[in-house]
């Protein structure tokens, strides 16, 4: 067994075990921490593929961003003694069946595809290439999705500000006067 395979098995088993723990844990913050382990191991898989950029994006966006937000909202809303009710056996049975069916479909699809094996070492992804294709209009360009996503993010930001301000335009006067 090569070191690569060993690392892959390590990461894969962490992902599988902690994914199951994430959905079965009855303590909400523990579930969030298990999710964090899953996301970090996924970043480890990207590092194995020599795609350091995607791995770092995974770490900043998912582990450092989304999990921090989840933990933050749990910190604000729930108490340490809070524990979820155990789920009924019917519900857990059907969700397990659904999960297994989903996994089967994915596995069958993957096995259907013939991957051509190669002995070449994984090539490093050139950062300049990523940046250029993100902003170019040619055949390899991603300028349209890039712009669409920026507009989406802007809209989300405006929406967040409006939700945070609470209420329509009528109540804005009273809101601002409260702060003065």
């Amino acid at each position: 067994m090569t070191l690569n395979q060993l690392m892959f098995i390590l990461f894969a088993s962490i992902i599988v075990v902690f994914s199951i723990l994430t959905v079965t844990s009855r303590r909400i913050l523990r579930a969030a921490v298990y999710l964090l382990f899953v996301l970090i191991s996924t970043a480890g898989l990207y590092f194995m593929l020599n795609y350091a950029f995607l791995a770092a994006v995974q770490l900043t966006l998912y582990a450092g961003g989304i999990v921090v937000l989840i933990i933050f909202s749990i910190l604000l809303t729930s108490h340490i003694s809070l524990k979820f009710e155990p789920v009924e056996w019917k519900k857990s049975l059907f969700s397990a069946l659904a999960a297994i069916a989903g996994a089967l479909i994915t596995i069958i699809t993957i096995l259907d595809f013939t991957f051509s094996a190669t002995n070449e070492a994984a090539r490093e992804v050139n950062m300049r290439l990523v940046g250029k294709s993100l902003l170019s209009v040619g055949s390899d360009g991603y300028i349209l999705p890039f712009e669409v996503i920026s507009v989406l993010l802007l809209a989300a930001m405006v929406a967040a500000i409006i939700i945070a301000k609470k209420g329509g335009p009528k109540s804005t006067d009273t809101q601002t006067s409260n702060y003065q």
Binding site: L29, A52, V68, F72
Partner: protein, 362 residues
């Protein structure tokens, strides 16, 4: 055994080839990882001990006192004694705490700083992993430490810890933006994110001089934002002892407390070495234009010493901040970031891009 204090490349290559001669490739890689891990661990512990001592001496100097002076000459063994004491202290179990998260939190904090330190170039050829996205990687992994802080605060089941964790979380999440943007300003000038290439590009002049005005603005913003990101004074309201006893690590004792304590100092060290690498040329010696004799004398100082000198200069600045500025309130802290640093930073990035496009840098 080749050993050159100015270039470690030959030494590391010699270790690599001799290990590969004696062992199978699998065990050679394992042995190399063990050596690197052990070296970083020892370095980590030594620097941690030294920084605690330095902090107490600098603090004493700022306050016109003597500082530790009983254990050993000038008290240099004071932190060793403190460490032994910390190792012997009982680990107090908390009955109503979430035990798993309570125990996992210090490890998350310390692993995050470990991952960051592995990407820092200490000297020529003395660089554990040289990723092509080095700067981005360091920002990404150092952001993970905040999770440990949040978990520590919540799982202690203590209101002071929880308030401290919330403050610290809000602070780190907002100041991360400024740290990232000020580094991006320099990346525009360097044209690469690889730390070894960034250092190499500064052989003709440090970026803080070559990028003049925008680089200097970015350097100042980086200093402010990184001081805040490491939870150090004047931004230490996450552990403001007069309000919150000790913030998120109130309930921790013994070695677990030592983990938080050590990680705080190591984060300061990491931030200072990033500042030294990106703005002050890393291990590159200080050169002035065509002063041949002067440059030659500067080349004589080993790169590792240059790196440490620059890093400790930045650390001294950060300690100076801590012991001379009063602590900020939480609203002042957030105003400083969102209303001043972030807009200045965004304008500065555009300014730097303009300067680079026009070729007005050195």
């Amino acid at each position: 055994m080749p050993f050159d204090i100015y270039d470690f490349t030959s030494l590391t290559q010699w270790i690599d080839t001799s290990l590969n001669d004696r062992l199978s490739p699998f065990w050679a890689v394992v042995a190399e990882m063990a050596i690197v891990g052990l070296l970083i661990l020892v370095f980590y512990a030594l620097i941690g001990l030294f920084l605690v001592y330095a902090e107490r001496k600098v603090c004493a100097f700022m306050q016109n006192r003597l500082g530790p002076n009983r254990v050993g000459p000038f008290g240099i063994f004071q932190t060793v004694a403190d460490l032994i004491k910390l190792l012997l202290v009982e680990l107090v179990p908390i009955r109503n705490a979430d035990k798993f998260l309570f125990n996992v939190a210090p490890f998350i904090v310390i692993i995050a700083s470990f991952m960051a330190i592995s990407a820092i170039p200490f000297a020529k050829g003395l660089h554990a992993i040289d990723l092509n996205i080095g700067v981005f990687y360091v920002i990404a992994v150092s952001a993970l430490g905040v999770i440990g802080v949040l978990l520590a605060g919540w799982s202690s089941n203590n209101k002071y810890s929880l308030i401290g964790a919330m403050r610290s979380g809000a602070q780190i999440v907002s100041y991360e933006l400024s740290v990232g943007l000020s580094l991006i300003t320099v990346i525009i000038l360097a044209g690469t994110m690889q730390l070894s290439e960034i250092v190499q590009a500064q052989s003709t002049g440090w970026f803080i001089f070559r990028g003049h005005i925008p680089a200097f603005i970015a350097f100042v913003i980086f200093l402010i934002a990184s001081t805040a990101e490491t939870n150090r004074g004047p931004f230490d309201l996450a552990e403001a002892e007069s309000e919150l006893t000790a913030g998120f690590h109130t309930e921790y004792s013994g070695i677990k407390f030592a983990f938080f304590f050590l990680a705080e100092y190591m984060n300061m060290f990491i931030v200072a070495s990033i500042a030294a690498t990106v703005f002050l040329g890393g291990w590159m010696p200080f050169h002035i234009g065509s002063w041949e004799a002067f440059n030659h004398v500067m080349d004589f100082i080993p790169p590792f010493i240059w790196y440490l000198m620059k890093t400790f200069f930045i650390i001294f600045l950060m300690m100076w901040f801590k012991w001379t500025f009063p602590r900020l309130r939480i609203d002042q802290l957030l105003t400083l970031e969102w209303k001043y640093l972030l807009p200045i930073n965004l304008v500065n990035v555009v300014f730097m891009a303009f300067i680079v496009l026009m070729g007005w840098h050195f």
